[in-house]
Amino acid sequence: MTRVLLLALVLAAAGAAGAEEITLPPDHPYGALKPGPGSEVAQRSCVLCHSTDYIVRQPPGDAKQWDGVVTKMIKVFGAPLSDADARTITDYLARQYGK
């Protein structure tokens, strides 16, 4: 809740009548990915569609969990990832966010 509040409060709704424009706040520091092999690939690939705070707060999981997640991102959500990058990301997540 606190995070949502901060997000909302930081946003300044601007604009003349009829036109509305906002600037999104920067990502929260707590969402930064842990360093480690593959973190750069994960960073540049995942943020094409979502911020990394979505990753770091998931329940920790083994390689099977993370392989399932990465496969879902590709097959269901249409993430444009090469097979090699997908493997790199899965290994990175299982190592840094494993059980």
């Binding site: 949502v4 946003l11 036109a19 509305e20 094409l48």
Partner: protein, 341 residues
């Protein structure tokens, strides 16, 4: 949670959740139009002025709650946005009735569902756009389903759907499509098209509780729909130090999926005995209902106060959380602990 000691959630405190990126950050009403098309006699392109002048304004005070609110508390844990309890809010929404808009467009014989799309568009064509649908029978005669252009007396904030969003009182927020741009009447169930956000996403086990044995998968699923009963004790805040024998006022809110709250009760003995509390002003069956109770911590030590609500058809909350793989529908009886000195 501090915002939930009152019935109306301020716009700047309202939760935000999108599904595809990038999300809209600017809208110009000079060019924005709400397109109404598909299986209709007269396709429409409505400006905001037309929405406000061609249709009577309707108002409804209603809770908007994410299907996965409180998902972070699922045990065993599940993947998805790890919400606490803050993915909910209650606002007064003003707009035009969806049924009036559909009547103006002239829904044709054989129409089955209505699909809703907003300005949030995926960055890649391979990513499924966020589109939701409702059965025509669900919306056609419900005067409370509105295309809202006002939230708590102000234009909708950009991140809560400027300039218009669908409001489906009693049903989870997944149907409340933000930054609305297209209403399309279709002649067969929408999930038969390839549409990720109606199937397989946002579905619950096809049984009365919407739950399965923790850690197992459901055999059959249906789209998530009406909200269940929830209640929260919000003030004093959890962990506040209280004095034995000194009365305090407990405050919070309760809500359900549109029948309205009949009764809220608290217990300070682990659920053995329950005491009815006072309900605040009735803002309608879809709204947060404030409640309050004078309560005196009986003795020093750790006190735990539980709260539960009943709606007008007798539905309530359970002592054990119900579980499903998506972490939806959580409505276990909540409790708050206070150190008492």
């Amino acid at each position: 949670m501090t915002w939930f000691d009152r019935a109306i959630t301020p716009n700047e405190a309202f939760f935000v959740r999108y599904h595809v990126f990038p999300i809209p950050t600017q809208v110009d009403l000079a060019t924005w139009r709400l397109r109404v098309g598909g299986h209709v006699d007269r396709p429409l392109e409505l400006s905001m002025d037309e929405l406000k002048t061609k249709f009577p304004a309707a108002s409804v005070t209603a809770v908007n709650q994410c299907s996965g609110n409180s998902r972070g508390r699922s045990s065993p844990r599940v993947l998805g946005g790890q919400w606490g309890d803050g993915a909910m809010g209650n606002a007064e929404w003003v707009g035009c009735r969806l049924k009036d808009v559909l009547a103006a467009a002239g829904v044709r014989q054989g129409a089955a569902e209505v699909a809703f799309d907003g300005l949030d568009k995926p960055a890649f064509p391979s990513v499924p756009d966020f589109v939701k649908s409702l059965a025509l029978a669900r919306v056609l005669d419900d005067p409370n389903v509105i295309v809202a252009y006002q939230m708590n007396g102000a234009p909708l904030p950009m991140l809560n759907g400027f300039p218009a969003r669908l409001v489906v009182p009693g049903w989870y927020a997944t149907y409340w499509v933000k930054n609305l741009s297209d209403i399309t009447v279709v002649d067969k169930p929408f999930e038969q098209y390839w549409q990720y956000w109606m199937k397989p996403a946002y579905r619950i086990p096809d049984n009365p509780c919407g739950c399965v044995e923790p850690g197992t998968a459901p055999k059959a699923t249906v789209p998530i729909h009406r909200m269940n009963v929830r209640s929260f004790l919000v003030s004093p805040a959890p962990g506040a130090r209280l004095a034995a024998g000194r009365p305090v006022t407990l405050k919070g809110i309760a809500f359900d999926g549109g029948y309205g709250i009949r009764e809220v009760e608290i217990s300070d003995d682990g659920g053995s005995t329950w005491r009815r509390v006072s309900l605040g002003r009735d803002l309608g069956p879809y709204a947060f209902r404030e409640w309050s109770a004078a309560w005196t911590p009986p003795r020093a030590g750790a006190a735990r106060v539980m709260v539960r609500a009943f709606n007008r058809i007798g539905e309530s909350q359970g002592t054990e959380p119900l579980w499903n793989p998506s972490g939806y529908l959580r409505n276990v009886i909540e409790s708050v602990e206070y150190p008492v000195g």
